[in-house]
Amino acid sequence: MKESLVVFDEVGRVIHYHLPDNRTAGAIPDSRDLWKIMEKHVEVLGGTAHTHPSGFNRPSHEDVTTWSATELGLAKRFLWVIATKEKTTFWRWVGPGPYDYKGNHTPLPDMEWGLIGEAVDRLKALSGMYDEEDD
């Protein structure tokens, strides 16, 4: 299994699946290409979803520092999704500190959960998180 990431727009439509060869079960290394894609689509960018094959459904320090840097760099707040095999959680900055993100199980009201849900399901498959009997 490998962590994987999808970039989606403000209504949950897929912009880009990020599946670098150097990703592992526990990490997605920094990528200038990923940053450039997010920067290019900033006007419609809604956020990212990434998988945690480990099953841990909270963000790592690396996750929240990347979320914070992205939002500061693009001057815009986003929805950040973490998907494990069993749960999907939605994280948003609540402040006041730069790493103060709060998670819950409900997407933003103006997000189309159906689109994000389909993208997350495909992301889980791309991460190798489904057993054959789940198909």
Partner: protein
């Protein structure tokens, strides 16, 4: 049926070409002359991007580069980036690019990092 926007991968050589084009539009800074060991420092902050007018040493460590860029943004010293006393580049990535045939000077570029997970 999911409405999927065409996946979009930007190749590194395309990125370089964009940099050249952006710089060319700026006019005077299209081909700066830097001394040995010097580089152009480019910074992305708050959806703005600009170059520090003064060269920096290419071998300057990442922490010092971030501090230098923060100070410049606080003071409004980077054309294209509005002065911002709240600037915070602690979690930004420092990329380094050697001179090429197309871009004949070294560059250091600061932008938000994009790593996820543990120990990425």
């Amino acid at each position: 049926m999911v409405d999927v926007i065409e996946p979009d991968v930007i190749e590194p050589d395309v990125l370089d070409a964009q940099v050249v084009e952006e710089e060319a539009e700026g006019g005077a800074l299209a081909h700066p002359v830097f001394g040995p060991g010097q580089a152009r420092l480019n910074v992305t902050w708050a959806r703005q991007n600009g170059d520090l007018p003064d060269p920096v040493l290419y071998e300057t460590d990442d922490g010092a580069v971030r501090a230098m860029a923060e100070e410049a943004i606080r003071n409004g010293d980077i054309p294209g980036i509005t002065a911002d006393a709240t600037v915070r580049l602690a979690d930004f990535q420092v990329d380094r690019f050697r001179a090429t045939d197309d871009i004949p000077y070294d560059r250091i570029m600061i932008r938000p990092k994009s790593a996820y997970g543990v120990g990425a």
